[in-house]
């Protein structure tokens, strides 16, 4: 801290409110700048995201801003030979030279075929990513964008968050919850959405008495704090969830009949071949009217009491209700069957299922802000640990239905969608979005990532039409993101595209390390002109990039809407908050903001008009704040327009630069919206069954092998993922886990965060169960080699621990760097993704989730 004497010669001492960028949560921060130097970054108490508190990464951002190993000037490759781990021979060039060459290449691509431009981006810098995906790329005319860390992405969970919660993702309402079940997830206990706020709320809830059960192969930070750690075999969470559903529905009869009847498609009748039975004239799904004793459309007037369970004759054919179909579907998953698959004892499965069902306190209500609401004080949450496998869809569906059957969905205590309803600022009523019901009475999400003027997103999920896009958006168009593009480009057998990647713009993602083994992305783009907007010269840039452009860190740039005020905003009661990310210091050296470069490129390419129109669409701007089509705006002007469009004339850019964040209280109808919005949660996924058939037809027409639509199941089931069965000597499964002080490559280059790992026992090591290690003659600290059955070998040092399943090796994510431009991160931690191939065989086609665990064997290697 500045001693008092030093402080006396201070000329400038200001605090600047902004938003963090060390992970995708964009928490509220404020920076302390003295005489032009940023001396402290801490939480911003006025910002509801974090409420003045940060995790270790947020506080360490200063060492990213002033990291001497940052790329500070545009670099051009001089070594024509591209290789993983090769030396690119960087030569510094000017921005004009770089942009001129980029413009000529992009013009040529756009003339010849705009689909030649590929784009990959990191979700950490959410706002600039959205700006590219929402305006530049569609205006340019290319569909070929993908998010490289799709491997870490929610994939299947995002689909169900949309169908059942009308949002991008979910978070438990811990304020009213008394039993939290975590499947492979560390919400508020280590990582996940709105971490800095959820950590406060989860801790408060646990002190109040909320019980936490962590189902995870590794004793990470969630299992450490949980009241009960349930070690499970990786990839078998779906079987456990199916068994719990079976117990709740068929044995303990612990389910919320009213919710399932009125707020879900429980009573809808299903024909024998698995489609909704529909009314002949209106085409609406039929339900059984017990009084009239015949099937009638779900929205018929003066409908009698509707049957939730049972089999009924419709047009002479037996039809089961969806609820009955669900009960029968999970009946085969007895606790004993699940115990054999998951290595979790049947007795533990019974205990957890009963505790979960009883904690839900079905039938109880609670009054919040004068509104009486159903109170379901139990919630089951899951993320990559549970669904990072090629059975992702059915696993996610099984766990999601645990919340649905007890009615704990979008009500106090249950699993909430991340802010799917917003009535907007009291003075302007903007931004505004809310879900509704579609023609079948089923839940249809409101605008998700973009401010869709419809307020809703019609035509979702889009039917499969073809297989001509490398990111499979036309074949599998409903997952929110994918990292599959490189795999499709490499799979010449199944995919033939009538265009090749001519130019790849990579915004800040370390493709080679974040998706799968580096050979996948390298193979796909080795003949492509690659442009990287990077903070460091990382592995991807050194292997592939022809030009590297110095990007600004989040402390040096303006982003008017850092997190879209939605899925990274805390759930539950409290305040809405809309914050600004503004530069704490002017960009150092020749670093430039990606969005500003896009505007300049748009101007040079003559696509400013569509970009402006799409910006209006992206930010939901209407006259008088909409951008005029043919004007070339600066990034600051666009920000000003956006703020005034949302919050009124007097709250433009300068207001936000001064205030930093605008907050207004949430209404109870926004937070616990299910009782207020009559739209039924689809337990049965007819669209998945239909899409499966269409995908199979397209695949058959195009003669594609490896397209397995067996996973397109409308109701949950479990099948083993590829890494599940032991094979000739490969007796273990390797998984990766996340730690609260690392995100991706960027944090490994941060000295303060690296110092944590160097003093912490586990994260730079390969964790192996003590008994398993002794059986293999491995001692603590020994150098070991882990070889995957699908190829790929990783090396590291063993850390013997009792806190991991005996058949599992656990590695912290994203270690093991080798780039020359990251001297700090080089050689630290273990590079897990080398074990992961990326192809159709290892991918759940419904959700494009990759198998994130590998069947491996481990052996000691001589001391290097």
């Amino acid at each position: 801290m500045m001693t008092t004497e030093a402080a006396s010669q201070v000329y400038e001492d200001t605090w600047i409110p902004s938003a963090c960028g060390m992970c995708y949560n964009q928490c509220g921060i404020r920076g302390h700048r003295i005489d032009g130097t940023l001396v402290k970054v801490e939480g911003n108490p006025d910002n509801p995201i974090g409420r003045g508190r940060l995790c270790a990464r947020g506080l360490a951002g200063i060492q990213l801003l002033y990291d001497p190993h940052r790329v500070n000037r545009p670099l051009r490759r001089t070594n024509p030979e591209k290789a993983i781990g090769g030396d690119p021979g960087w030569q510094e060039i000017g921005w004009d030279e770089a942009l001129d060459e980029i413009t000529t290449r992009l013009k040529a691509v756009r003339e010849e075929d705009p689909r030649g431009l590929y784009f990959a981006g990191t979700v950490i810098s959410l706002a600039p990513l959205m700006h590219a995906l929402g305006t530049f790329l569609p205006a340019f005319g290319t569909p070929n964008s993908f998010v490289s860390d799709g491997h870490h992405c929610g994939n299947a969970e995002h689909i169900l968050a949309r169908t059942l919660h009308a949002s991008v993702t979910t978070n438990p309402d811990v304020a009213h919850c008394s039993y939290l079940l975590l499947f492979g997830c560390q919400a508020g206990l280590g990582t996940y959405y709105a971490l800095t706020t959820m950590a406060q709320d989860v801790a408060d809830a646990r002190i109040r008495g909320m019980k936490v059960v962590a189902i995870d192969p590794f004793l990470g930070s969630a299992a450490e704090k949980a009241d009960e750690w349930v070690p499970i075999k990786p990839g078998s969470d779906g079987a456990l969830a199916c068994a719990m559903l079976n117990l709740l529905l068929n044995e303990y009869e612990l389910y919320d009949a009213d919710y399932l009847r009125d707020h879900a498609d429980g009573p809808y009748l299903l024909t024998e071949d698995g489609w909704y039975a529909r009314d002949r004239e209106s085409g609406r799904p039929l339900v059984w009217d017990a009084n009239a004793a015949y099937a009638r459309p779900f929205d018929a007037t003066d409908l009698g009491t509707v049957a939730l369970d049972g089999v009924y004759q419709v047009d002479g054919r037996p039809c089961r209700t969806v609820f009955r179909a669900l009960r029968e579907q999970v009946a085969k998953w007895t606790p004993e069957a699940a115990a054999e698959v998951t290595t979790v004892s049947a007795e533990t499965i019974r205990k957890i299922a009963r505790e979960f069902g009883e904690a839900a306190s079905i039938g109880k209500t609670i009054v919040i802000d004068g509104q009486e609401l159903p109170h379901r004080a139990a919630s089951a949450l899951y993320f990559k640990g549970a669904h990072g496998h090629d059975n992702a869809w059915s696993t996610s569906l099984a766990i999601e239905l645990l919340n649905e059957v007890i009615g704990a969905s979008n009500v106090p205590g249950g699993l909430l969608g991340t802010n799917p309803v917003c009535f907007g600022h009291p003075e302007t009523g903007f931004p505004r979005w809310e879900p509704g019901a579609d023609v079948d009475g089923l839940l249809e999400a409101g605008a998700l990532l973009y401010n869709d003027p419809h307020g809703r997103s019609p035509g979702w999920p889009p039917p499969p039409t073809s297989a001509e896009l490398p990111n499979l958006r036309d074949l599998v168009g409903w997952p929110i993101t994918t990292c599959f593009t490189p795999a499709a480009l490499n799979d010449h057998e199944n995919f033939s595209f009538d265009h090749r990647p001519e130019v790849l713009i990579n915004y800040g993602s370390n493709l080679l390390m974040s998706a799968a083994r580096p050979e996948v992305c390298f193979e796909a783009f080795k003949d492509t002109f690659v442009i990287c907007f990077n903070l460091h010269s990382d592995e991807t840039a050194e292997a592939l990039a022809d030009i590297v452009l110095p990007d600004t860190s989040y402390l040096e740039r303006l982003d008017p809407i850092p997190n879209f005020t939605r899925h990274h905003h805390p759930v539950g009661m409290g305040d809405w908050g809309h914050t600004i990310r503004q530069p704490m210091v002017e960009p150092l050296f020749e670093r430039r903001h990606f969005s500003e470069v896009l505007l300049e490129l748009g101007g040079r390419l003559g696509i400013t008009e569509p970009m402006n129109l799409l910006t209006n669409h992206l930010y939901g701007l209407v006259a008088p704040h909409a951008l005029a089509p043919d004007e070339q705006y600066t990034w600051r002007e666009i920000a000003d327009h956006a703020y005034k469009g949302w919050f009124g004339e007097e709250r433009g850019l300068d207001w936000f630069e001064e205030q930093g964040v605008i907050t207004w209280p949430k209404k109870v109808e926004e937070v616990y919206w299910k009782p207020f919005i009559h739209a039924r949660a689809p337990l049965y996924n007819e669209w998945v069954k239909r899409s499966g058939e269409q995908v199979a037809k397209i695949a058959q027409e195009r003669g594609m092998k490896g397209i397995d639509t067996e996973g397109f199941v409308p109701l949950p089931d479990w099948k083993p993922c590829r890494a599940w069965k032991p094979r000739d000597g490969y007796d273990l499964q390797a998984i990766y886990y996340r730690v609260p002080w690392h995100t991706f490559s960027m944090t490994y280059e941060n000295p303060w965060l690296d110092e944590i790992s160097r003093g912490e026992p586990y994260s730079y090591f390969v964790c192996i169960n003590t008994a398993t290690a002794h059986a293999k003659g491995i001692a603590d600290g020994d150098p070991i080699e882990v070889e995957g059955v699908d190829g790929g070998t990783i090396r590291g040092r063993a850390r013997l621990t009792q806190g991991v399943h005996p058949e599992v090796l656990a590695v912290a994510n994203n270690g093991g760097h080798w780039a020359q431009g990251m001297p700090f991160a080089r050689g630290k931690g273990v590079f897990f993704n080398q074990l992961l191939p990326m192809d159709l065989e290892h991918t759940d086609l419904v959700s494009l989730s990759m198998d994130c665990d590998a069947r491996v064997r481990v052996q000691k290697v001589p001391e290097a």
């Binding site: 003093g759 912490e760 600290g781 590291g796 093991g816 080798w818 080089r826 050689g827 630290k828 080398q834």
Partner: protein, 315 residues
């Protein structure tokens, strides 16, 4: 492990960083102390060794009126130990500040005693003072200060509440004993290798040295065996079986105890002249004297922050 592995080639790249050792230490249940032994820390052990044998030598050479021994003692305490102390300190330019807390800090008392000893000892050697009436007073003062030096060193370690292995009344007594033994050994070594005028006394000194050595043996046993509590037991374990055992067995036991005895027993077999033999015994003892202090300081282990078997709430 303080090194990186380039997983692609398997080549390891050490990042030699003492701090990494410190970070690993901080995560151990039993954290060894390193500040007073590793790197510049070794200087404090050297300083305490020389001030110990110096004070011991001053006492014996004053008792037997051996001026050369006395000069040597002053050289050890003020010269060697003083320089080592200064080189060890982080900010030696402020060393005089160490005089400010004699009422509570043993180190403060130590520097006072070294200071007074330095003045008194040098004064007592000056012919002007030696012949004046004050001679006995100055000499007495120097003897007192020398005894204080022997005393304070042990207490510096015993005062460290964080390191149970040092926290025993026996340690100061052990340091006094080793100081006296070291002093005698120094004189023997000097006598044997050219210290004229002292040879006749060598025989008494060796008897004296034997007596003190036996006391040392008993104390050493007591210090290591009567320890209870995790950290102290861990220190002993490291001493006798752990990372410090080579220095302990090689230095303290072999050189310090076995070698002198062996030399003494095989006196006629070796056929060395009397004095040279005594000198060798002295030298061996000096090595032992250094290593006993080295081992005790290196074996210091902090009390565990969190007990090995878990953190609980007492009561």
């Amino acid at each position: 492990m303080g090194e990186r592995i380039d997983w692609r080639t398997g080549e390891t790249m050490a990042f030699p960083d003492r701090l990494d050792l410190q970070r690993q230490d901080l995560s151990q249940v039993y954290r060894p102390q390193r500040e007073w032994i590793d790197g510049r820390g070794l200087l404090i052990v050297i300083a305490h060794f020389f001030s110990g044998i110096g004070a011991g030598a001053w006492l014996w050479s004053t008792l037997y009126d051996f001026p050369m021994g006395q000069a040597l003692a002053i050289g050890c305490v003020i010269g060697l130990s003083g320089v080592a102390h200064m080189a060890f300190l982080g900010r030696w330019d402020r060393f005089w500040r160490m005089l400010r807390r004699p009422h509570q800090s043993w180190i403060s008392r130590g520097i006072w005693s070294i200071g007074i000893f330095g003045l008194a000892a040098v004064a007592s050697m000056l012919p002007a003072v030696r012949d004046s009436a004050a001679a006995p007073v100055v000499l007495g003062l120097s003897v007192l200060a020398a005894t204080a030096i022997l005393l304070y060193e042990g207490f510096v370690y015993a005062a460290s509440r964080a390191i149970p292995f040092w926290r025993t009344r026996l340690l100061p007594v052990l340091y006094i004993a080793y100081g006296l033994r070291g002093g005698a050994a120094l004189l023997l070594a000097v006598a044997a290798f050219g210290g004229s005028g002292f040879d006749v006394r060598a025989v008494e000194v060796i008897k004296l040295w034997v007596v003190v050595s036996t006391a040392v043996l008993i104390l050493l046993y007591l210090v290591s065996s009567t320890r209870s509590g995790g950290a102290a037991r861990e220190s002993v374990a490291q001493l006798v079986a752990g990372r410090i055992s080579p220095a302990f067995y090689g230095g303290t036991v072999l050189a310090g105890i076995v070698a002198p005895i062996a030399l003494a027993l095989s006196r006629d077999a070796l056929g060395l002249p009397e004095l040279v033999l005594l000198g060798a015994i002295g030298l061996a003892s000096l090595v032992g004297d250094f290593y006993v202090k080295y081992c005790i300081v290196k074996a210091g282990v902090y009390v565990p922050l969190v007990a090995a078997e878990g953190v609980g709430s007492p009561g």
